[in-house]
């Protein structure tokens, strides 16, 4: 068994967890699989962008990077809509990412620094 599986077995073997927690630990997309952490990483991009909005001066924002974030967010949000089954959570995540990109580009435009 790999180290993650061993850690999962160790955690699930503890007796103080309620049953629903153990079921979650063993879920196909639970916290011991990669499927749980990928959406968190995608939200991290939006959170980092909001942090940059608040804390960094406008000259340091990279307009090319923000354009890529906006374009990727919009296209993947649209893709989540046309997939079957529709991925609503992923769509929301990517829409928020695209919105933060648009806001950063707008701020650069207002400061006269866009391209």
């Amino acid at each position: 068994m790999g180290p993650i599986r061993q850690l999962q077995a160790f955690v699930c073997a503890q007796t103080f967890w309620p049953q629903f927690m153990i079921r979650w630990f063993q879920a196909e997309k639970g916290p011991f699989t990669i499927f749980f952490y990928c959406p968190l990483a995608k939200w991290g991009i939006s959170i980092a962008n909001i942090n940059d909005m608040i804390k960094k001066p406008i000259e340091t924002i990279n307009p090319v990077q923000q354009s890529v974030i906006t374009l990727t967010g919009t296209l993947i949000a649209r893709w989540c809509w046309v997939l079957s089954p529709r991925q609503y959570m992923l769509m929301v995540c990517n829409s928020v990412m695209a919105c933060t990109g648009i806001i950063q580009l707008w701020r650069k435009h207002q400061a006269g620094l866009l391209f």
Partner: protein, 112 residues
């Protein structure tokens, strides 16, 4: 000469996962992340955002694993995230070395 409306290429163009659909362009647009990192090869380190670079490196590392765990595996996505993690990591290291050289310059400054 094959007719313009048929053939493998045009069948692909008009297919349900071809370049006229979102199913094609959404994965392709992911490649703009490593291309942006190449474009910014010599970006002034004062203008690199440490937090954003960290997040992009983690994001690509996690998705490298994800690309191999989905079924069917996507080697193209794996390659894209491998390039992205390396290139964004290079920008992160560029920023961190600049920060440490700034710190060193402050410490070495002779005090009057």
């Amino acid at each position: 000469m094959a007719s313009k409306a048929s053939g493998i290429f045009w069948t692909w163009v008009h297919s349900s996962t071809g370049p006229k659909t979102t199913h094609f362009w959404a994965p392709v647009c992911n490649w703009f992340f490593p291309i942006q990192a190449l474009y910014d090869w010599n970006r002034d380190p004062a203008k690199i955002s440490k937090e954003m670079q960290c997040v992009l490196v983690c994001y690509s590392s996690l998705f490298m694993r994800w690309a191999l765990r989905i079924s069917p595996q996507s080697y193209i996505l794996f390659c894209m995230h491998l390039f992205n993690a390396t290139l964004q990591g290079r920008l992160l290291i560029r920023r961190l070395t600049w920060e440490s050289s700034q710190q060193k310059a402050i410490e070495d400054k002779p005090t009057n």
